[in-house]
Subunit: 218 residues, 4 copies
């Protein structure tokens, strides 16, 4: 477990490289944070408007709940408020936001449903606390909003309404997920991005004359 | 051919990196084994809950048929039972489980058929014992199950029912294949993952108004 | 900001490697330029007929508005005229042309519409001057033409007709975008390539029985 | 231009790595050759049954027209006959066979047409001798055959029937293309693989309710 600020910063930069290689944080999108102190609450979070695949440790900011920067170079993203909201509501140790094609597409296509149901996949077992593929994971879809304070409020309310959930989708904006540690959160990102692509391709295959399988709510 | 435990461990870690780069073992999914001793039977197998793209040699466990760990750091996956089942039934030297989007999708869409037929592809010639593209490869699809002992039994029965087969699919869980050597098994993984993607895209192309080709049972 | 010709050349070569890795400049396609002097106008531009993923600094040409080469090895692409046209009309500091599958496909499918409308995506906020996902970005599609002088004229007229736009598509030929700096232009390429893929996949998902989301003009 | 056998072997291995990274030569598929001597005709060609992404120079064989091996480690592929056929008919300096998902899929879907027509794409200008996107490229599709002598005869007849063509597809087997040099042939592979993917995605987009563009024969 990383102990120093440099370790944390390097881990966040490494996560950025990993996600960038997958095409999940193109065009300076995405933001990643790790809790570095609980009381008072402090995050190490990626600076805004930077290519997340080429971060160096100076690009990781040390911020408090007022979004005041105490270290690092750059400005915090407005979405920092969402990171704090998730950390407080879920007691998370790390929060990750990726911005993939599949998550963006499904958040749009399922927007009117208010969410996306995923069940029956073995991959779900990689989510904290999930022990079986028969698990039913509801991923709420929250309408996007440029008023970040308002959006953070909606995200908070949504998290409270779905206390067992592991992620939320912002419509046409991407995935937010979290974990007790950065490694847990990275694993969650990979699991959800995998599931979004699988669901996207499965619905397409079926309606094009492919074969039938287990009934699927999505 | 790797002779020492370190060689075997490094080969397994290399296979993990290769598969991870393709997106076939995201979110700590997948597991890989090599037979290191026949009588008594011993496997070198990847530890559970680890990112398979970043394994180091300490993450490769030395286990016996009771799944007791004799070396390495970590816990063996429950799926270790499946590896032993396949090794015993097929006399395999290596067993690989990958967890790709296309294999997961097809295992779902063809689940009610109980399997997937693949024929006519030159790529099939890369499978052990196959000499012509006119080969007909049946890939059974086994329903997923969290009771690993029960699942191992079903896998064993399925393998006996299809003695010429080179792989099985676990529904919404991915591919299991094997080979006399790790290199053979890696080649088999690449062949099946290629064929799953080709089949998935072909059915889509045809039903969307694309042209007609050789009749295909899948 | 790169100050010397070598810095500029290395930055262009690095952009080439990045785009090549994505598959956006296969088969020696694509061309990239940076303004090195304003009056008289001079560009550092990639030489023609080279693999853009393997450029070295000698492959970056120093050209003036008559396309005379003052430094570097190789011949300038005929498309150099388009780069100058965009630089003059937009005051751009860098112009990038990528040639991806998705951009080529959408430029073809939307050709009769004369353009492609993109709105509602958070990713649009990465475009210079765009502050909200509610932004409506019109990407004109210009018919391809081997007469480069004529094509440059049409591109110029199109740019003037859409002064707020950030990109144009050449039909079955790919994307042209620009920025105040090379980093801005690279960010724009990634944003548009992401959006093209998302739009391509979304339309497909909807008409195959996927769910409904926000009304979309594309 | 490579002069020595080691240079040629390294260039072929590099081409293998490049194609493997794209997923175009999975599972030991694919084979690549360069003409090293004209009279008598001698090829440097990849040995059979090897992972084409991990070749070293010893895996490149020096063969004559009887397929006798004069240097290198391994056995020549039976497809060596196809390489010689293409070299003789076209005077090529290099022949490349890749085995991608998209080429395999289109060779299957268009099999009954006997070929695939590609026109209107700027990318076609990268093919030797092609000066305009208005070019019409016919890619014949030849039924696969395990009798390599017979297949070489059919390939030869097909090449003679389409003297302006730059490639052929073997049904459910992949792409064969060539060039005066290895660099030309590599460029041709990238161009055709790009075009196959674009055509595959375009037909899908149109029939799913996407917009209409230039009439396309494929």
């Amino acid at each position: 477990m990383p102990r120093t600020n440099t370790d944390v910063a390097e881990s966040l930069a490494a996560a950025g490289r990993r996600f960038y290689a997958r095409g999940w944080v193109l065009g300076t999108s995405g933001n990643f944070s790790v809790v570095t102190h609980r009381d008072p609450l402090r995050l190490a979070i990626t600076a805004s408007s930077l290519d997340k695949g080429s971060l160096d440790t100076s690009h990781i900011l040390d911020v408090d709940e007022t979004c005041t920067v105490h270290g690092g170079t750059g400005n915090p993203s407005a979405e920092t408020l969402l990171h704090f909201e998730i950390v407080r509501r879920r007691g998370a140790g790390a929060v990750l936001h990726t911005h993939s094609v599949w998550s963006t597409m499904l958040s749009d296509s399922h927007g009117l449903d208010g969410g996306l149901n995923i069940e029956g996949y073995e991959m779900l077992k990689g989510l904290d606390g999930v022990r079986t593929h028969a698990h039913r994971e509801w991923v709420p879809i929250v309408p996007n909003d440029q008023d970040m304070t308002r959006l953070a409020g909606v995200v908070g309310t949504t998290l409270d309404a779905h206390p067992a959930g592991h992620a939320i989708l912002l419509q046409r904006h991407g995935l937010y997920t979290w974990g007790a540690s950065l490694a847990d959160a990275v694993r969650h990102v990979e699991i959800f991005e995998f599931l979004f692509e699988t669901i996207g391709r499965t619905a397409a295959y079926r309606s094009r004359g492919g074969h039938h399988g287990i009934a699927q709510d999505s």
